[in-house]
């Protein structure tokens, strides 16, 4: 968590300069070139020289200097805190927001942390993206305070959208931003749909691994481990990819004081989202039934038979 290294200073790195010469690279090739750099064993001077020779690259950052940035994108969502008392609203289709505390979706914290670690290792830029109300700026600021470089809020009333319309909007934005890798939570703890990451990957035609609990990235390829019933599954693939993040992947850092103070100066763009109308709608919400009052069945050995009977016939758990 807090022992994670601080962000590396942004400067012209020779490995990125070389990659930048290779035209419009996708992430996998960019990473390949990072790997190639060790084999090339040229001096820093000559990398710099090559960088200066390139003049037309889209990633150009200043006169004569180019820099390929790895575009790392994270989808995040503002959700009710898991310890909030949830009441169904008057229409029976939405929750009553009164008195509910909102937080960054807990699984998205793993996604942001993994994005920051990826940036610290390979360089690049981390953008966090959300679709939601203006209130979601608070959660975006939290991500900026953790270390993300830029935040984008696509403003929309999300009360009547579905995973399909959200995913289409996010995929279009990811394309526009030139994202090379996308991290998101395995699910948002409000709707528990677990659809967005997978849908976006499908729309983009990218690889996707869901429920990632361990990840190694190198040379434009990845090895992701996911938890499956009773074991683990290891998956190899190539970037670009969408990785949906599960607990265990990392320990999200606490925003530190410097990060928090820096966050207010980082860009947070806000624009209206263009969302397709939803194909699905929520027909109704039902709260879980009130728990029956606990009963004491008896004491000591005398209660055992009765307990077994209740577990078998009432609770039907044994």
């Amino acid at each position: 968590m807090a022992s994670a290294p601080m962000a590396a200073p942004r400067k012209l790195r020779p490995e990125r300069a070389v990659a930048s010469l290779k035209g419009d690279l996708d992430a996998s090739r960019a990473l390949l070139w990072i790997g190639a750099r060790n084999r090339l064993s040229d001096s820093i001077w000559s990398f710099r020289h090559l960088a200066l020779a390139s003049t037309e690259h889209p990633y150009q950052t200043g006169p004569g200097e180019t820099e390929l940035t790895m575009e790392i994108l994270v989808f995040v969502k503002r959700v009710p805190a898991t310890d909030s008392k949830i009441k169904v609203g008057a229409d029976g289709k939405q929750i009553d927001p009164a008195g509910v505390e909102y937080v960054l979706n807990p699984y998205d914290e793993f996604a942001v942390e993994e994005a920051l670690k990826t940036k610290e290792k390979f360089g690049g830029e981390v953008t966090v993206l959300t679709i939601g109300s203006a209130d979601a700026q608070k959660e975006l600021r939290t991500c900026l305070a953790m270390g993300a470089d830029k935040a984008i809020l696509l403003e929309a009333d999300t009360s009547s959208v579905d995973a399909s319309s959200i995913s289409k909007c996010l995929a279009a934005k990811a394309k526009e931003l030139g994202a090379q890798i996308i991290f998101c939570g395995k699910q948002a703890v409000d709707g528990d749909d677990a659809q967005v990451g997978v849908r976006v990957a499908t729309l983009l035609g990218w690889a996707c691994v869901s429920d990632v609990s361990s990840l190694e990235l190198s040379d434009g390829a990845f090895v992701a481990t996911r938890d499956i019933e009773g074991g683990k599954e290891k998956i190899e693939g190539k970037l670009p990819a969408v990785l949906t993040c599960q607990k265990g992947l990392n320990e999200p850092r606490y925003p530190n004081l410097k990060g928090i103070m820096a966050a207010k100066k980082k860009p947070l763009e806000s624009s209206p989202a263009s969302l397709e109308s939803a194909a699905l709608r929520v027909a109704g919400l039902t709260p879980p039934p009130a728990r029956p009052a606990p009963a004491i069945l008896g004491e000591g050995a005398a209660a055992v038979d009765l307990l077994i009977d209740k577990l078998k016939n009432e609770a039907k758990v044994i």
Partner: protein, 387 residues
């Protein structure tokens, strides 16, 4: 368990900036997730969780308001940091107060460029630890009587004397030691391992057990002349540091009181005696309301003090009032809470006993409750009760 939310009866949050709230919440989560799971073991053993020191540095909690080395945090933001740390334990808050206010602050304020460059970056990261040696076995409330002396000898000073009750004394890499040079109080930076400088820990404390407390012993300890804090002389040196630290302690008292109140409230709502939860009885309600009342007043006091500090208008007598009130208030809360918890309140399964005994130290150090009464008394009457 539900996330700890603190006490905010008067919607104080709306008087805080977004950054201040974010800083507070970050430290709050750190204390809940990283510190509190460890505290009971350390309390039993009488040790400080040294493994968390790099994390304190990484979070930016060490000297955050020090120009150039800090993060430009407001004084209220810094106060909220200390409030949350003391919600965990007074020992944790003491560590951070000593490092930031009592060691980094005087080096930044009175030190040379070389001294700043040598010590401050490592101290901000938590790689170097500081301690502050003012109190002596025979001079507590009356530091002006100190007998520690530095005598010039060629290009060094020779230091002799004993400091007692020094937080972090034996774990510190650098001691800010106050001693007399030509009968005037001066500050010296003494490095760990300097020949003639030894430490001895004070064991078997009832209070502030999650903190190292030591004696510093100087026997013909030779330090270079460059170890002198050049820009200050007289008691003003140490007292100005204490003003910084007392400011934070006043916030800390609010944190400890909130932890105690929350625990007592929860307990009272679930503990059934006779026919109903004890929270339903008037005498118990009186205690809970007393706590809420005093916590709310204490919060408003430090918030105003913090804004004054940022405006450069804070007077040391105002700091005395806040330290005196808020630690008294927290200690009184702890006694009431302990009472509400009945027998449960005397085991370390609950935190109130730990906070209560801690607060006895906090009430004594950095100027005892009564010494602050006399500082204020002198301020309002113009008649000093002590020299």
């Amino acid at each position: 368990m539900a996330r700890y939310k603190g006490v905010d009866f008067y919607a104080m949050d709306s008087l805080l900036s977004d950054e201040e709230i974010m800083v507070r919440d970050s430290v709050r989560d750190f204390v809940s997730d990283r510190f509190l799971p460890l505290v009971t073991e350390h309390y039993r053993r009488g040790t400080f969780p040294m493994e968390l020191v790099p994390e304190l540095g990484e979070l930016g909690l060490l000297g955050p308001t020090i120009p150039e080395y800090g993060s430009g945090l407001s004084s209220v933001g810094y106060g909220l940091v200390l409030q949350e740390l003391e919600r965990g334990d007074s020992g944790l808050r003491s560590f951070v107060s000593v490092q930031g206010a009592l060691c980094m602050w005087p080096i930044a304020t009175y030190g040379s460029k070389e001294q700043k460059e040598r010590w401050l970056p490592g101290m901000a990261r938590g790689e170097l630890i500081g301690c502050f040696g003012l109190t002596e076995p025979d001079f507590g409330s009356n530091p002006g009587g100190m007998t520690t002396r530095a005598v010039p000898d060629g290009d060094s000073f020779v230091l002799n004397g004993t400091k007692r009750w020094i937080t972090n004394g034996s774990v510190a890499d650098i001691a800010v030691v106050w001693g007399k040079l030509d009968d005037e109080v001066r500050g010296f930076l003494v490095e760990k391992g300097t020949p003639g400088f030894t430490t001895r820990d004070i064991e078997n404390k009832f209070s502030l057990r999650v903190s190292t407390t030591s004696e510093l012993i100087f026997e013909d300890c030779r330090i270079p002349k460059s170890a002198l804090l050049g820009d200050v002389s007289g008691l003003k040196g140490p007292l100005s540091c204490l003003t910084q630290a007392r400011y934070g302690i006043a916030w800390g008292g609010v944190g400890a009181a909130q932890a105690i109140y929350e625990e007592a409230l929860e307990y009272a709502k679930t503990r059934v005696q006779f026919s109903r939860p004890i929270a339903g009885y008037q005498l118990v309600q009186d205690k809970l309301v007393w706590m809420l009342n005093e916590i709310t007043k204490g919060q408003l006091l430090v918030l105003r003090l913090g804004r004054l500090k940022d405006e450069g208008k804070m007077h040391f007598a105002q700091v005395s009032l806040a330290k005196r009130n808020n630690i008294w208030m927290a200690l009184e809360c702890s006694r009431r809470a302990r009472d509400i918890l009945g027998a449960s309140g005397i085991t370390d399964e609950y935190q109130v006993g730990r906070h209560m005994t801690n607060l006895e130290s906090v009430s004594t150090y950095e100027g005892t409750h009564d010494i602050h009464t006399l500082i204020l008394g002198g301020h309002v009457t113009g008649l000093q009760a002590f020299e």
